[in-house]
Symmetry: C2
Subunit: 212 residues, 2 copies
Amino acid sequence: MTGRPFGEAFRAELRELLAWRRDVRHFRPDPLPDGTLERLVGIASLAPSVGLSQPWRFVVVNDPAARGTVRASFTACNADALGRLAGDRAALYARLKLAGLDEAPCHVAVFADRGTAQGHGLGRLTMPAALDYSAVMAVHTLWLAARSEGIGLGWVSILDPGVVTAALDVPADWVFIGYFCMGYPAAEDSVPTLQREGWESRADPASCLFFR
Amino acid sequence: MTGRPFGEAFRAELRELLAWRRDVRHFRPDPLPDGTLERLVGIASLAPSVGLSQPWRFVVVNDPAARGTVRASFTACNADALGRLAGDRAALYARLKLAGLDEAPCHVAVFADRGTAQGHGLGRLTMPAALDYSAVMAVHTLWLAARSEGIGLGWVSILDPGVVTAALDVPADWVFIGYFCMGYPAAEDSVPTLQREGWESRADPASCLFFR
């Protein structure tokens, strides 16, 4: 594993994966093959983590009652968000499909274990959120690995974190990062849904770059 | 860009990149070629973001006074962290090289713009930290793209976020995510530094997977 960098063909394909990734909200109902999630979590565990703390916690949600609580939280939070909009923007919001909770065969909640002893506290004394950020990078790693196999992932953030955390009975020092729908996409698209639907479009990357 | 998933050769190479990535703390001093950072930020801007908000803000730090403030904050925070340890653990910590601030030719601070209008607020009402998480995924995307070209990145979290933010004169609603050293690595290694140095080792991924 020395002699890197990687070749131009790989780099081009990596850029294509990044561009094509998508947040998937339309799933086919067929389940992931046995062992798939375990394998993807293994790859996700290669993500960077502060102090090698690996604080990501993947909670697979199969219990119908827990799924129902999450679904109800999404419905309530989404209605609240809609209620704050007016006019065309409200009409457009109401048309968006923002989660695949009903169809996705696999549901995973991700937490960051703020209390983990792994890593012996290194690097997180002044920035404890570095643990949360490590869990986010594990999610992103899982996302890319899944997509490279044709498996879609959709991030649901329109939820009450307290409600979801309580429903899943996890330790008190776990911070809720997000709730993820996984499964095979019903369709593929290289343009973000929100851009296709006229909600928002991508900014010029140069507008995110500053010099001091 | 339809007809995906990607092939097995690409997926194997992606896993290799993820495994080999490393947090780099030993840099050669030669600068990145002109335009490299702009190109990498363009790729990073393909990262997922809540509501297509693209809230990442990359601040390239060239000013010697600002770099000096960051360096001093690292020194103070690192000494404080060492002071909380005892015995063998303190001795081991003192031997670790935790940042490449002195050698890395390129310094980038990353923030999440909690006040951005882009995305029209979608998806972040109940979880405003989703903006921070989006910026983290842009960092991770930049990290992977850079590494695939042989460019190293090191995440410095042993800093006082308030000190760094003040030194860089950014808007008040920007949340500091991390400070990054970039440049060509002085060496390559497929084993995490903290594991090689005996600080911590990787956990079994199965220990991060739970079922409800």
